[in-house]
């Protein structure tokens, strides 16, 4: 499993890539691995407000249906629209082609709560122990 160093991670297994005041979010390699083959994806509309720790989307795999949680609070400025027709992209490339939404960050202070790659890997280890 891969966990790029330039990303931040949440306990709900989402990743965040921050560039200026926008944050790109997706699900981590660990999450897609745990979910198994993804068959359906539901994303918010552009312009919707999402909240840190609150569900903003739904991902369904052959195993289960799961909520996707906001890593940061903010307004959705872009969604990865083609992904809903090809949700398997999340399994194939969760960090690049499989990104989910871009958000205009409302509260930069929230970034302090995110984990870096090393902390996230330690967290997974603890969770699966």
């Amino acid at each position: 499993m891969e966990f790029p160093d330039d990303l931040k991670y949440t306990k709900e297994h989402e990743w965040v890539r921050v560039k200026g005041d926008t944050a790109t979010m997706g699900v981590s390699d660990y999450a897609q691995e745990q979910l198994g083959d993804i068959v359906y994806l539901e994303l918010p509309e552009e312009g919707e407000e999402i909240e840190k720790g609150e569900p903003f989307g739904v991902v369904e795999s052959v195993k289960a249906v799961s909520d996707i949680y906001g890593a940061l609070t903010g307004k959705v400025v872009e969604i990865n629209d083609p992904l809903t027709d090809n949700p398997e992209t999340i399994n194939e490339d969760c960090y690049e082609e499989g990104w989910l939404i871009r958000v205009k960050i409302a509260n930069p202070k929230e970034m302090e709560d995110l984990m870096d790659a090393a902390q996230y890997q330690a967290y997974i280890k603890e969770e699966t122990a």
């Binding site: 745990q34 198994g36 083959d37 068959v39 359906y40 369904e60 052959v62 195993k63 289960a64 398997e88 699966t128």
Partner: protein, 491 residues
């Protein structure tokens, strides 16, 4: 000893439409004794078909073979062990089937007058009382048609109760070890769901409940025993905490199979409890029903019970259809009445001692399997469990073998797989519930099969990864099945 898996003479079978031959007819009717009439001359155009219905044209023997062949491709409880955890697939005794087919029950009309269905009403009334006695609840409504329907009915009553007090409240607390339908039922009743994590022993603590309990919590929904098969031993203290803030406690009684004659959940402080007659009381289920999910309540919720109510007055039974504070009807007529007959017969057949013995055997069988597989498979929670046990694929993961592979391989040994990937709090969960129906010999065979698979995972992992090998079909493309649903036949 050997396990029962073998390849048999299972036959391919196409769709009836594919077997259709124009003009082939499977029946003969006597000549009509009234003149034939063309529907076009009698019926208005808007209700006539534009085209002939494309029904398959086949002979009688073809249609009989079609359904017999399909049934032979199926697996059922009457054929062998069906250890789906959380689903309680127990054997349905044939005496209860016979009871449901007694003409007076089977042929009674739902619109008959109460005078003409005294027997039916008496049976329902007595079943309500039996369920109340078994669970320690005050009243029982028998109408909901499924466990989830029971949850909805229960939550509607809870909402009506709070509304009558002036404030329906906003939140429902649900632990992460509860049944998956619980949050959906709460959300449909317009409540926000607060998820509460269970502790490292897999149960809910009083402190965790205390930390989230406030005046805006309408209810706590708990499954007991929970989805790990573990008894929520702090339930009494938890009920007190919830009650202190004016909240109610809903218990998902789907796992009641572990508690019959041993624990009365009502006495622990539960306010609303649903029963799955199609699990604990052995009425048939699978394939979507019909089920029955009666709901028991404490006295303070009695005004809100769904209509109709069956009242006993001077030895006769009356149907009360109107009640000012009732949540109203939840099901047409008298619920899935045939299921109520089966559950009634089951309870009467076993009696108090027998019911207790059922739970004791269910717990014993589950623990026999747990002990038999300990060491071969990872047990994520070491706390004693009741009627079901949950393992994970942690040991097998080192060989890159997953729960899915193990469950597929189990079919080669002649068993229906257990529940997989549930509960969600266990990664790669294997949830096993043998029920009390199984004789020791079949448990031993199951353990032997699982032990052999554990060994195969070590010695020949590819064999497991590519399983099943002996079944009618090998591994199906579940992804394609989910993404490209084909719901109707087309030429």
């Amino acid at each position: 000893m050997s396990t029962p898996g073998a390849t048999g003479l299972i036959l391919e079978e196409g769709l009836l439409f594919e077997q259709s031959v124009p003009g082939r007819i499977g029946f003969s009717l006597p000549a009509p004794d009234v003149p034939e009439t063309d529907p076009k001359t009698k019926l208005s155009k808007n209700i006539l078909r534009q085209k002939e219905a494309a029904l398959p044209e086949i002979s009688e023997v073809d249609s009989v073979r079609h359904f017999v062949r399909l049934s032979q491709q199926n697996y059922c409880k009457d054929a062998g062990l069906f250890p789906l955890g959380s689903c309680t697939m127990k054997y349905n005794p044939k005496t209860t089937e016979a009871a449901a087919r007694i003409s007076g029950f089977a042929n009674s009309h739902p619109l008959a007058s109460p005078e003409a269905m005294q027997g039916n009403l008496k049976l329902i009334y007595e079943l309500q009382n039996y369920l109340a006695e078994i669970s320690g609840m005050d009243f029982v409504t028998p109408w909901p048609a499924a466990g989830s329907h029971g949850e909805l009915t229960g939550m509607l009553m809870i909402r009506a109760y709070h509304t009558a007090k002036g404030n329906p409240r906003k939140k429902v607390i649900i632990p992460d070890s509860a049944h998956g339908t619980n949050p959906a039922s709460a959300a449909i009743c317009q409540y926000d769901v607060v998820t509460l994590p269970s502790n490292k022993d897999g149960i809910l603590t009083a402190d965790a409940v205390k930390a989230v309990m406030d005046d805006n919590v309408a209810a706590l929904m708990v499954t007991n025993p929970n989805t790990l098969g573990i008894f929520e031993e702090n339930i009494q203290e938890i009920c007190e905490i919830v009650h202190k803030k004016g909240g109610l406690v809903y218990c998902d009684g789907a796992n009641l199979n572990a508690l019959l004659g041993i624990v009365k959940l009502g006495e622990a402080g539960i306010d609303v409890l649903h029963f799955n007659l199609h699990k604990t009381f052995s009425t048939p289920h699978g394939g979507g029903g019909p089920g029955a999910g009666p709901v028991g309540v404490k006295k303070k919720l009695e005004p809100f019970l769904p209509t109709p109510l069956i009242i006993k007055e001077n030895g006769t039974f009356k149907v009360e259809r109107e009640r000012p504070q009732s949540i109203g009807r939840v099901k047409a007529y008298f619920g899935n009445f045939g299921m109520l007959v089966r559950a009634y017969a089951y309870i009467r057949e076993f009696g108090p001692q027998g019911l207790r013995h059922i739970s004791e055997m269910a717990v014993l069988n589950s623990n026999y399997i747990r002990k038999g597989l300990e060491g071969a498979y990872h047990l994520p929670y070491s706390k004693p469990s009741l009627h079901e046990c949950v393992f994970s694929d942690k040991f097998q993961k080192e060989k890159e073998i997953k729960t899915l592979d193990i469950s597929k391989r189990l079919m080669d040994y002649g068993f229906h797989p257990f529940t997989i990937y549930f509960p969600l709090i266990v990664h790669g969960a294997m949830m096993i519930e043998p029920t009390e129906s199984e004789p020791k010999a079949s448990l031993d065979q199951f353990i032997e099969a699982m032990q052999k698979i554990a060994k195969e995972c070590e010695e020949n992992p590819e064999l497991v990864k590519k399983a099943p090998h002996n079944t009618f079909r090998s591994r199906l493309d579940e992804v394609k099945a989910a993404r490209e649903l084909k719901l109707r036949w087309t030429v």
